[in-house]
């Protein structure tokens, strides 16, 4: 009686086994059409599994091989790599660079195709484990749902650190770290209970950095390495709407200038009056804190002359001891002479590089499809367009990892509208590798979401506050005022 049962089970197993092996597989010498594109990218050893999908696949078989381990996976049109196996595979490369090989076999229209295997290169240099970004629909003037989120890039855990449904639906700007330190960061909350929220080791302050002598409340900014100062731009920001196909939104300043804020006594030091009235924006401190880099353009009539508005990259010295501006301004990148406009400079923590973006004109790179990333070697003054990094759509809003080996940026490369965080490795010679998108537990998420990941910023650790802390400070804490120096 038992023998026929065993035979039956064996037959079923045999049938199942035979079904699992694709028959009549045709070879394709091209790389597989996977999304996200993780082909031939360089990744850090501490990144979460690079789950991917093949959109039109009926079935997928994937073999991931490293020197010591093999992972075999099957799926309908996506695969999810088990966290434990992935960690083990990447651990082998934590001492020296390595690579893993991925072979993808796809069943489409009933036929199996084996694509050319691709490599994923591993580097022992880790990326900062936390990433903050603002989740927002890439709209025009109206916003409803805004969230600041923090994601652990080693896992898939995402946490909401601020939500505007708890703050009277007020606008909130992107979150910015000082020194990639979770204990030093700020963002601006708008609305009646708003102000600049300054986080110092979880102790939250709300400062109304505005004064009748300033153009407006502060907008773009950066924290001094000491944590004592912030440099901000004060801008009157206006939107304009393009009518031609492909163009979308133009955001420009009708006025803008810079201020230094001393967080210790809430004093504001405006940009020296000795210089002519110009547009100044996107200030950032150098790694040593002795210089402020910023974008500067001649004051012209906007929006009439918007197509001629071009910013150069300038620098001015800063004295951390007295908190005062220097008296001399130097041009670092004369972008206007190249017919381009600089924005969003960011210095690397090791002081070697300055990463910035250039567009054809204007000051708001995210809606300029031509916006590309450039790297300035601060020691030589050499600038390189990062060809391996840039796409046909906007690539901008970058932030460095604390070891200066990685940077993250927002790229609209997938569709031109929805920005996603991409990571890029910089080797010792300043060469950039092919970037890869933030991995997700379910790779479909990028197809389904209608949110953009704005201004991604890397951090060495988890932020010491959450959404309810922000609700409390918005509703219950009165804002500190500032005075002019």
């Amino acid at each position: 009686m038992k023998a026929p049962v065993y035979i039956g089970i064996l037959c079923v197993l045999a049938v199942m086994t035979s079904c699992s092996q694709p028959h009549g597989v045709t070879e394709n010498k091209q790389f597989p059409p996977i999304y996200p594109d993780y082909k031939e990218v360089t990744i850090p050893v501490n990144i979460a599994p690079l789950n991917f999908m093949v959109r039109r696949a009926e079935k997928l078989q994937v073999t991931i091989t490293s020197e010591s381990t093999t992972i075999k996976l099957k799926g309908s049109n996506r695969i999810r790599i088990p966290m434990g196996k992935w960690r083990k595979m990447l651990q082998a490369a934590s001492v020296r660079p390595g690579r893993i090989r991925v072979e993808v076999t796809v069943k489409e229209n009933g036929l199996w195709t084996r694509y050319a295997p691709f490599n994923i290169y591993l580097t022992p240099e880790t990326i900062d484990p936390y990433l903050s970004y603002r989740l927002i629909e890439p709209g025009y003037e109206v916003w409803k749902s805004l969230q600041l989120a923090e994601r652990n890039v080693e896992t898939f855990r995402e946490r909401i650190i601020a939500d505007n449904s708890l703050t009277d639906n007020s606008c909130m700007n992107c979150h910015t770290y000082g020194n990639q330190d979770p204990g030093l960061s700020f963002f601006h909350l708008r609305g009646q209970g708003g102000g600049t929220v300054l986080n110092r080791n979880g102790e939250l302050r709300k400062i109304n950095i505005n004064n009748p002598e300033m153009i407006s409340p502060v907008v773009y900014g950066n924290i001094h390495p000491s944590g004592d100062y912030g440099v901000f731009s004060s801008n009157i920001v206006l939107p304009g709407f393009h009518t031609q196909k492909g163009e979308r939104l133009e955001v420009y300043d009708s006025e803008s200038d810079l201020v230094i804020v001393d967080f210790r006594d809430n004093t504001v030091n405006p940009f020296p009056e000795d210089f002519p009235r110009e547009f100044r924006t996107f200030p950032v401190f150098s790694a040593d804190g002795n210089t402020v880099f910023y974008c500067n353009a001649q004051h012209i009539s906007v929006p009439d002359s918007i197509y001629h508005l071009r910013y150069d990259l300038l620098k001015i010295s800063f004295d951390p001891a007295s908190g005062s501006w220097g008296s001399k301004v130097d041009t670092v990148v004369k972008a206007s002479s190249m017919g381009l406009s600089v924005c969003h400079p960011k210095t690397s923590p090791d002081g070697k590089y300055l990463l910035f973006t250039m567009a054809d004109y204007g000051t708001f790179p995210i809606w300029h499809q031509e916006t590309d990333m450039w790297l300035l070697h601060l020691d030589t003054g050499e600038i390189n367009k990062l060809e391996s990094v840039n796409s046909t759509y906007s690539d901008t809003y970058h932030s460095w990892s604390s070891n200066s080996k990685w940077f993250v940026f927002a790229s609209k490369r997938d569709d031109g509208i929805y920005g996603k965080p991409y990571f890029c490795y910089i080797d010792g010679d300043g060469n950039a590798s092919k970037p890869f998108v933030l991995p997700q537990k379910d790779p479909h998420i990028y197809d389904n979401t209608l949110k953009s990941y704005n201004i991604p910023e890397l951090s060495k650790g988890k932020l010491p506050f959450g959404a309810t802390d922000i609700e409390r400070i918005y509703k219950k804490t009165p804002a500190e005022n500032v005075s002019m120096k």
Partner: protein, 589 residues
């Protein structure tokens, strides 16, 4: 009498259902369309998981599921009728479990009638009915458990489950069960323990939800389900509804014994039924918002490009709100009738031609339609986006996503168009359309040959400029100068000048329409031209150099006579001349 009352009890729910069905099918059909367009139900597990990730989310899921059928108003009316009938059935069934009596039958209609009244407000959503129904389902099941410890265990287990499924409806379930337990004979200690446990579990549920979902305001987590389109507003109607679901079944407990006597039962029941019909009918009548239904109707006709239906509706009763008039004007223009006929209908200025942008989901949606048909594809895209972003409950709009896909297709932005189409392919009713549009992606020739998209490609601006709502005439002028055969741009440009009573600009732009080769000069232009001529010439009827018809000339003479000689020309002219441009020019503000 009893026989009659038994008969009434049997047919009343069906009569009620029929009334609901007819109300939403004939009086309120466009409210249903309105609901449907401001949500996007996806047939994916991810959508389901996303919806049920918050308290009350399952009711929201069911609500959005049925709302997608509101695209077909009669189907939507049937669904609402069935849901409200179910509500009555559950209330009555629970009441009967508490104390069987026929006298109170009619009052079981109060909650569904009340919800019907709530649904007269376009911002009350179908999800709320499911939330209440789920609460009632759980409560009814409670009565089937005879064993007391098992019953108490059932209550305690169901509270967190029901809270997660239906949100705040758990309150009337929990309170209802506790009340019933207290009404039963038994140990007081056990009842006290139950009451304490229920209170603790309820509080625990709310606090746990806030801990898990700190991004939601606490009050929103208590209510859970989106009863109302504005989730930060908590209308009293929600609490009243819950209170009714609790008190009406419990009122069976306190029904005086006289009413329960067989001889009084039928009379009480019939009188209550009559009172309910009269009072309910009156309440529904005063809460019916015909003016909003009117705007929604015009919007629906524009959305479906049923221009003739919009014009027919206006022929029955001329619309007066700027949004309705804007829809009518678009319908007239698309039908080639605007320049001849627009002043036959009530006109309320340039806002009735192209309404100004507002951070509002309805205005943006309607205005976006006008920009779309004019060929301002980017502006139309912006309005579709802003409309969706303005939705207060953060839901997505099927209509907006569809328009975003279309505008990106026209603009050749195929990657992002594909993204929207992939989303629409996961819906029940837009899948076919999405598949159809997908076949056009990256096929320039096919798009250029398409009757709508190809035409709009020709109409849209070939040069870039920043649009300016304050200078709509300039925008229309730029569009027209790039394509002098773009009749809509020409007619909107001249209509804008006429509506703003800017006759100098009218005269400046009028010659731009030479290439349109009208068979006859449109009537409103004739009226404007002869009027302008009359301002500087003695005998305009004889000397006017424009091709003005004899009928218009005669009408001008008649108009002038009354205008100059009557003591109250506005009233006198209204009868026979209110459909002329002159009447608009002189008397409309």
């Amino acid at each position: 009498m009893n026989k009659t009352y038994n008969y009434i009890q049997k047919i009343l729910p069906f009569l009620f259902g029929l009334a609901v069905f007819l109300f939403f099918g004939t009086i309120y059909p466009h409210h249903l369309h309105y609901h449907e367009q401001f949500q996007l139900f996806l047939t994916t597990p991810d959508y389901f998981l996303d919806m049920i990730s918050k308290p009350g989310g399952f009711a929201d899921y069911l609500g959005t599921f049925v709302t997608q059928f509101f695209l077909f108003s009669w189907l939507g009316a049937g669904i609402i009728a069935i849901l409200l009938m179910s509500l009555q059935w559950f209330i009555h069934s629970i009441g009967k479990k508490i104390r069987p009596t026929g006298a109170w039958f009619a009052i079981s209609f109060i909650p569904p009638v009340f919800y019907w009244i709530l649904l007269c407000n376009e911002n009350f959503l179908a999800s709320g009915i499911f939330s209440v129904l789920l609460g009632l389902v759980f409560w009814l099941n409670y009565f089937y458990i005879r064993n007391t410890p098992a019953r108490m265990t059932f209550i305690l287990i169901c509270i967190p489950i029901l809270y997660w499924l239906a949100g705040g409806a758990v309150l009337f379930f929990a309170l209802g069960c506790v009340f019933i337990e207290w009404s039963k004979k038994g140990f007081a200690a056990r009842k006290i323990m139950l009451t304490v446990a229920v209170t603790v579990i309820l509080a625990g549920c709310f606090l746990m939800a806030k801990t898990i979902l700190p991004q939601y305001p606490f009050a929103r987590l208590v209510i859970g389900t989106d009863y109302f389109r504005f989730p930060v507003l908590y209308p009293s109607g929600i609490w009243v509804m819950w209170l009714m679901c609790l008190l009406i079944p419990l009122s069976f407990l306190v029904l005086p014994s006289d009413f329960r006597k067989q001889k009084n039962e039928a009379l009480t029941g019939i009188l209550l039924s009559l009172a309910l019909v009269v009072l309910g009918g009156y309440m529904i009548a005063i809460n019916t918002q015909k003016n909003k239904e009117d705007i929604m109707a015009y919007d629906h006709f524009v959305r479906m490009q049923q221009w003739d239906k919009a014009i027919k509706r206006a022929d029955r009763e001329s619309p007066s709100s700027p949004l309705s008039v804007a829809c009518l004007n678009l319908s007239l223009c698309k039908s080639g009738m605007m320049s001849d006929n627009m002043f036959r209908y009530y006109q309320n200025g340039p806002e009735g031609l192209i309404p100004t942008f507002a951070r509002d989901f309805t205005i943006s949606m309607i205005t976006g339609e006008i920009y779309y048909h004019l060929g301002f594809i980017n502006t139309s895209q912006r309005f579709a986006f802003e409309s969706m972003e303005s939705l207060p409950n953060y839901w997505k709009s099927a209509r907006s996503v569809k328009r975003l896909a279309e505008t990106n297709l026209i603009n050749g932005q195929y990657k992002v168009a594909r993204k929207y189409l992939i989303i629409l392919q996961k819906t029940l009713f837009y899948k076919k359309w999405a598949n159809y549009v997908t076949s056009f992606l990256e096929d320039e020739e096919a798009i250029n040959k398409h009757p709508e998209w190809g035409t709009l490609r020709k109409y849209r601006s070939k040069t870039d400029f920043l649009d300016s709502e304050k200078e709509k005439d300039m925008m229309l002028g730029i569009l027209l100068q790039q394509n002098f055969t773009h009749y809509m741009a020409y007619e909107y440009l001249l209509a804008y000048c006429l509506l703003t009573k800017d006759l100098d600009r009218f005269m400046q732009y009028y010659p731009l329409g030479m290439e349109l080769r009208y068979q006859h000069l449109p009537v409103s232009y004739q009226e404007a031209l002869i009027y302008i001529w009359s301002l500087s010439h003695e005998d305009p009827v004889r000397t006017v150099p424009y091709p003005v018809s004899d009928r218009v000339k005669q009408e001008l003479v008649a108009y002038q006579n009354i205008y100059l000689n009557s003591s109250n020309p506005e009233e006198v002219l209204k009868k026979n001349h209110s459909g002329t441009y002159w009447y608009y020019l002189h008397f409309r503000k």
